[in-house]
Every structure is written in C-alpha cells, then in structure tokens.
Symmetry: C2
Subunit: 422 residues, 2 copies
C-alpha cells in the first residue's frame, strides 16, 4: 500500500507544485483570504468532500474567553471545512492548516517577488510557501491519494482550512465553536519534518516607558524615555533567562531559548531635538506548553513591577503593561499518545530513519484544538521554521511530497481501511 | 534717563502683558506664522518704523550653502523687518526674534491650555511664552520706550521678526540675503537674563541600524535591530563624552554637557512577533561655538565607522548616517566685544548685580548673523531655558520688563542719543 501511495503522489508532483504556486500567488494577508479559500473549497469539492464555508461571526465570538483578534468582523475572511465521512468503526482525524500569511516586509530584501511562487533548485519561493501553504498542499495531496486510490476509510477525516492563525487563532476557534472535533488532530506547520507533541504558546504585550521631555540642548534637564527603555529591555532579557532556566523538558534540549520573549516594535519621541517623554515597546511572550496564559501574564506584571529596584525612576514612573492583539494557547500531548505511535511508525516506513521529536518553538492553533477543542493535536509538516516570516521564504518541494506520503499513510492506519473501491 | 525709561516701562506693563498674551494665543507653529507677523507689523507701524514684510523665496534660497529647512515654500510665513533710521554718526544695532513655536506635544501634560496665555502668580503660560514671544515683547517695549520718550538715536535700529528659527534659520537667512546687517546684534532668546557671547550650533541626524528578521519564536535565528540599536546608542554616548571632554571654555563651566548629542526619536520593527530588521534613530548633535558644522559631521561619521570594533555585526552591516532637517550655525563673539561692554554696564545699572556670562547650550539664529551676516551677535533675554519646548512653558513677567529696560538703555548707549524730541 505504501508503494501505491508513493506512486500516486509521484505521479501528481506537477499538479501539487502548480497548486502550491497558485496559492502562494494569492497574497492572503489578514482580511484578504477569500480568494485562496475559494480555491481550497474548489479542491475539496473535486476530492468529493462535503464542504462547509462560512465567515466567522466576530460579534458572537467576541465574548469567548479564548477569542483574541485585532478585528471583530470577518467579512471576506471565510473558513473552509471539508468532511470525508468514514464507513464507521474507525478513529477520526482532524487536519488543520491556516491560509493567512504575514506581510512580506521590505520587498528589496527578497530575491524573487514575494508572491511569484518561483520554482528553482527544487525550492518554491514566496510568502506563505513554508508558513504554511506547503503544509496545506501536503494535506490536499494526502487526501488526493486516499480518494484517487479509492481507499475507503473507517473513521472520519475533517479538513480545516482556517483564517487568522497569525493573529490569535480566531479561525480555528470559530471551527471549534461550530462543533468540529475528532479523536486527534494534526497540523502541518513548518517543523522541517520534525514531530512536535508539545507547543509553545504566546501572547502579545505592549509596554509604555515614560521619560520627561526637555530641549535637546539641555538634555540633562529631562529624562530620556529612550534611555529608560534600554533599562526595561535589559530587565526583560533577565526575565527571559529566568523563565527559560526553569524549562527542563528534554523535548526542548536542542533549543537555545525554548520560550523566548521577542521585542518586535519600538517607537518613541517625535522631535529630534527634544528629549523623548514616551517609548512604546511591543513584543511576544512565549508560554511553556504546560503553563497557563494567566500565569505568564502575572509573572510579567510582577517582573515589570520590580523595575523600581533596578532604577528608582520607575518607582515614580511605573511603565504601563497591556496585552493586546494575538495570543496562542500552548498545547501539550503525551509523547506516548496513540497518534504519536502511528505517525512515528509511518515516518520510519517512508523516511527509513528515526524522526526528531521536539517541542515547538512557537504557538500554533494546536493549543486551541488540544485545550479547548478536546482534540489532542500533533504538529508535523514540511517547510523550514527559520524562513517563516522572513524575506526569501521558501520550501523544499521534496519535503512536501514526503509529508504528503506520511500523512496519507497515517490517515490509513489511524482511521483504518474499510475497503478499496477502485 | 534710566529712571525715565524705568517709569515708561512700568506704566506700560499692562499693555506689554496684553501684547504677549495676544501673541501666545496665536499658535504660530511652522507654516502658521502669518497672523502673528501681521500683529508685529502693526506694532512696528504704531512705533513709526519703516516696515518691510515679505515671504522668503524658498526656491531662491534652496541653493544657498547655509539654507536648511524641511520646506521650499514660505507662503503664509512672512518675515517682518522694521527699521528705525538714526540721525547719523552712531553705531547700528540689529534686534532679532523668531515668532515660530514648536508643537505643544501631549496636551494632557499641560496644566493650562497651551495657547491660553493665562497669567497667574506673575507668570504667563503658553507655548512660545518663553521661546520666544516674551523676548520679542521685551524688544517691542524697549523700542516703545525709546519712541515714547522721544529719544532720537544716532545709529540705526533694525528690528527683525523672523520665521523658521526652530527648523534651521531660513527666516534669518532670508533677512541676511535681503541685505540687512548692522554693527552688532542682540537676540533675546530665553537665557534667563544670562548673557551668551557664544552659542552652540546643532544639526539633525538620522541613523539606520540594521538587523535580520526572523520569527519571534526562534528569535535566536535572527538579529534584533533593537538590540543592535542599544549598542549604537551607547556608542553615541561615548562620542558625546569624548567631545565634551574637549570643551575647556570657562563659559561652559556650569554646564554638565556643553554640547549634548540628543536622541529624540526611535522607531523600529512592525510586528510584535517578528525580530525587527531595522531601527531608525533621529537626533540632534550639538556643535561647539568655534567648531565648523562640517568637522562635527565628519567626526560623527568616523565614530559610527568604529562601531565594527565594538561589535563585528557592524562590519557587515554598517549603520546608515544622514543629515536632515534643521541645523543651527554656531557663533562666537569675543567676550571683550564693545557691545558686551555696553550690555554688561546696563545690566549692572538696572539689576544692581553682576550678570552671569555663559555660552549658550543651544543654537540660535545668532550663529548665522555672526558667521554669515557679518553682524556679531549676543544672546540675552527673559524666559527660562528649562521650560522651552516643554509642557507648561511659561515666563516670569518681571523679567520681561527688566530685559526691556536693559535693552532700551543698551540701544541708547550703543547707538548714541542725538536729541530728545518730546
């Protein structure tokens, strides 16, 4: 059976590349996901799945404790779910991938147009190639092989093509609220074919550092919010060190900073010859797989409170701390979970080597599926973590086909084969 | 004569306060100076001066080596010059004050409306009260006393009410190009009645610090431009130390940082969970009275070039340096200059104490007058340096009247009295 699946996928390589190229050429940044979702829906119809396409109800979701999005309206940003009903008597599997991509950044840092989907040297280039339209392509190829070879499964397969992963998971939340669940789940985020049973969560924060304005020519009469923000940045580095020293999970053994605190945005002052009175810092706090978002928030708040011991300025002028924008719930699945066993076995069959098992260095929608959706989720996919959110993002096409093969076999062995129809 | 001038000014205190209040109530930020200039022109007509009002020719000035402005068009931003022709045989004096004010900043940091001109406890509040409509009021009161008492001077008096001091001196440059000059000049910038024969110059610069983007969850795979900008900021602090250690002029003895380098603006990154690849710093470099702008620019460029010895990252990714926006030419007048002698004597007469003589901690249009306009310029005026460009800017009204008296007496003794007409 592995041979027939391998053969089918090999025969459909060109079609897979063309599909990925088509998806990358659609710049599906936040709010612009409709075109690519129509393409996905079209593919699912072709595969004879029951297709459900809807725009999440932002107003209705807004009160949900796990809702976190910069927007309340999802017009033009539909979710797509395709269901492949099984014959019965098998375990169900939920496959989930997001179609939203982060902005391309400075275009002059890209060798190719970020939305070209250019193929060269066995790699396909473009924003979203790795994160995660390559993974989505692997899912569609796996489903294609199952259907193309007439393999009737026992358990149900639920394919979710969601929006808004990059800004807090409102797409997957909407799918959970709509009632979709399964015995287990798999998300092919770019793990470079490593297997992640545990996933880091994360949240966005904003810190406002205060100074006191003055004329730049007598700058010693003011207090520079830029200089004070350096103290805050170094203090946060200390918190990052302390939090990471606590991580003993062997799955993070190869990770230099398991749960980083990233400072992504700095902005302060408005006049070159004035001492700046405010600096705003925005960043992302990593949350350990077994940690609660609330615990991490409280630790940050306490830590910022201690700044007054570092510099008495902060006693009178405490920095403001707020949580905004995106958050990703962490997730933790027992490495002995039955889906792990199946996935490991198929990996060994196809790759003829031992897989790398780690904890993910970033959040995915898998945390929501595991914690809220009662669907334990593993993360495993093609694509190179290092180029996600990066100029010259690309994917090694061979890995897309390998992942598709492993996922098709996992479907077969997890859901069970009822009969061959062709 | 001092007594009669003192009496005249005392009698006209209310009128002086009302005039200052009227000027402060006009928010004459860059591009919005016309209304206050019409008011000044009206005052000069009332004082029987020959009035010249014109909009600087931005296109014509643009090629001038001392031209520095964010704009090339001065429609709505006229200069006003009033000339009081002397009887002949005396020295001429140029009085110069600017009417443009910097923006008010965050309104919630102001106790009073920034354009209220509110008077309380002997102080008048508002943007521009100190910098420098209070000084302008002192000039107009001094001229008022001369004319009101019928004192016919021998030398000419040229009163300049200019635009654009806060952004590089294009107003005063336009007046110089138009041909106005004199044997000496006085600018009543807010020195808190100290006398500044020397003035710091300054220039605006922009530094672009480069990093390498990456996903925040694997931030160790990128290079944070925020962290690299901290290295740059600390390196610039070292340059500031080195430059200031060279300043031996006793006039700067009481100044903790004679020629500061102020970092006023920081801006970098655009996504909380991405490693930022660029940070932009904007600041103001102080230039010593006897230093050339070009020398200071070269020193900064060399210093930034040395960053590669501090951190090898900068060898491959040198920060960009550019000069933009405003610049103020430094100025240096011999403390033994004859106008110094006259001013010191009148100060002692009126205040019955020794004046403080220092070098200014900031640039004024005096540098242009001294270096380019062949008119050696002293800076002396009411108003508190510390509140310039600051919320709750205000001026002690008593100092406005004291300055007016000293300036009126200086006119009398510098230009010489021909006769009394009244």
């Amino acid at each position: 059976m592995q041979e027939r699946i391998h053969e089918w996928i090999t025969l459909h390589r060109s079609a897979g590349i063309a599909l990925l190229q088509q998806m990358v050429r659609i710049a599906s940044t936040q709010g612009n996901e409709k075109e690519v979702q129509l393409l996905v829906a079209d593919q699912l119809h072709g595969l004879k799945l029951d297709v459900d396409m809807w725009e999440p109800d932002g107003e209705g979701l807004a009160g949900h404790p796990y809702f976190c999005s910069p927007r309340n309206h999802f017009a033009g940003s539909p979710n797509v779910v395709g269901v492949l009903k099984g014959a019965g008597g098998g375990r169900s599997l939920l496959l989930n991938g997001h179609v939203d991509v982060v902005p391309e950044g400075q275009r002059d840092q890209w060798q190719h147009d970020p939305y070209s989907g250019e193929v060269t040297g066995g790699k396909l280039y473009g924003r979203g190639a790795t994160d995660m339209k390559g993974g989505n392509t692997a899912l569609l190829l796996a489903l294609g092989a199952i259907q193309g070879l007439g393999l009737k499964l026992k358990g149900d397969v639920i394919f979710q093509s969601v929006v808004e992963e990059e800004s807090g998971g409102a797409g997957t939340l909407a799918a959970i609220v709509r009632g979709y669940k399964a015995d287990a789940a798999l998300i092919p985020e770019p793990t470079n074919l490593r297997i992640f049973p545990k996933q880091q969560g994360s949240m966005w924060f904003r810190i406002e550092v205060k100074g006191r304005s003055a004329h730049g020519g007598t700058r010693y009469e003011g207090v520079s919010a830029i200089e004070k923000s350096i103290v805050v940045i170094q203090h946060i580095r200390e918190l990052e060190k302390e939090r990471n020293a606590r991580i003993k999970d062997p799955l993070y053994a190869n990770n230099p900073i398991p749960i980083p605190i990233n400072l992504g945005v700095i902005q302060g002052g408005n006049w070159p010859s004035s001492v700046p009175d405010t600096v705003k810092l925005e960043g992302r706090m990593g949350v350990a797989p077994d940690e609660k978002l609330e615990e991490a928030r409280e630790e940050m708040l306490r830590w910022i409170g201690r700044l007054k011991d570092v510099d008495p300025w902060f006693a009178e002028h405490p920095p403001g701390l707020e949580w905004f924008g995106a958050q990703w719930v962490p997730g933790s699945v027992d490495p002995g979970h039955p889906l792990m066993e199946v996935l490991l076995q198929q990996y060994r069959e196809v790759k003829q080597e031992e897989p790398v098992i780690e904890a993910s260095p970033w959040g995915t929608d898998g945390g929501l599926l595991t914690q809220l959706g009662e669907t334990p989720c593993l993360v495993f996919g093609p694509g190179i973590t290092q180029v996600a959110h990066y100029p010259n993002e690309h994917i090694v096409l061979e890995d897309v086909f390998v992942a598709a093969e492993i996922i098709a076999l996992t479907l077969l062995h997890w859901c069970g084969l009822d009969r061959m129809e062709a």
